[in-house]
């Protein structure tokens, strides 16, 4: 009796294993495939955090060498740059009529310094199509410097190339208002009068920055 039961159990196990083997093999193959896809997705983009960090350090040094010391401190402390607008000369005597906030890899925000009213967002990017490391995106501080050079060098040309939108399309207006408040507080603490306020923009006698 025992022998018969034992034999039946063995036969049952063998039958079951034969029946389930294809499914087990399929499941194993699926797991192997998913694992391989996961590895592929993680690695080959060429992204190297160390290289990106070094690139950003170089970009920060370049930005610092180009902008005024106070502007560099603004970017270092607050994470954005303010650039005064050049048009609207009619209001020159009472200060710059409008200004821009430059954020890395975000739209340029135009606003009225007198009231804090937000005017527009200018969506602009500087994609390098050669993608040397698989990405067309400049380091953060290079993006800020590119915007700063384009705005101070030829504001109108940059605005023509940008996509203009109402405030709030990409950057939360409340965030911008908070940043303007932080900027005002930062300038109070530094005892600094906004450098573009009431200044003649057509400052003659430009020399090359070192």
């Amino acid at each position: 009796m025992t022998l018969a039961l034992g034999t039946a159990a063995i036969i049952l196990v063998v039958l079951l294993s034969e029946l389930t083997r294809p499914r087990l093999e399929d499941a194993l193959a699926r797991v192997r495939r998913l694992w391989a896809e996961r590895l592929r997705g993680a690695a080959p983009s060429g992204y190297d955090p160390g290289r990106e960090r070094r690139a950003e350090q170089r970009a920060r040094a370049l930005l610092r060498s180009c902008v005024e010391e106070a502007d560099w401190a603004m970017y270092r402390d607050l994470g954005f740059l303010r650039v005064w607008g050049r048009h609207g000369e009619r209001e020159r005597d009472s200060g710059a009529p409008y200004a821009y906030l430059i954020y890395p890899h975000k739209p340029i925000v135009a606003y009225l310094p007198q009231t804090g009213e937000l005017l527009n967002e200018y969506c602009v990017a500087f994609p390098d199509d050669s993608k040397p490391y698989g990405s067309s995106r400049l380091p953060d501080s290079d993006d800020v410097l590119a915007k700063w050079m384009a705005l101070t060098g030829d504001e109108r040309r940059l605005l023509v190339d940008a996509n203009m939108h109402l405030p709030g399309r990409q950057i939360d207006p409340e965030r911008v208002q908070r940043d303007l408040a932080r900027l005002a507080q930062w300038e109070r603490e530094r005892g600094r009068r906004p450098s573009g306020w009431g200044r003649d923009k057509r400052d003659p006698g430009n020399v090359r920055a070192a």
Binding site: C66, E68, C123, G153, M164, R208
Partner: protein, 90 residues
């Protein structure tokens, strides 16, 4: 004079360096300058006014680069697209 170019994943790279007063070096600078413009780059010369105000000057040819400029920075041209204007409410 140094010609620098912003590069993703790297920061700026030195493209060329030379003295514009030396004809051969100036030729090399001009060639490098043209290559970058042909590749669609914008070129800017950082400037500083006598009052310490810093700006940039966009240049479209090597002839526009001031002879005493210490560096020219190339960066990819702006992309955005829609016809723009000066800010509204102005």
């Amino acid at each position: 004079m140094k010609l620098l170019r912003m590069k993703p994943g790297h920061g700026e790279i030195l493209l060329a360096e030379g003295d514009v007063a030396v004809p051969e070096q100036e030729r090399e600078l001009i060639e490098a300058f043209r290559r970058e413009l042909d590749a669609g780059m914008w070129a800017a010369v950082p400037t500083e006014s006598l009052g310490g105000r810093r700006e940039a000057e966009l240049v479209k040819s090597f002839a526009d680069v001031p002879r005493d400029a210490e560096r020219v920075i190339f960066f990819p041209r702006a992309a955005g697209g829609a016809p723009g204007a000066t800010p509204t409410s102005l």
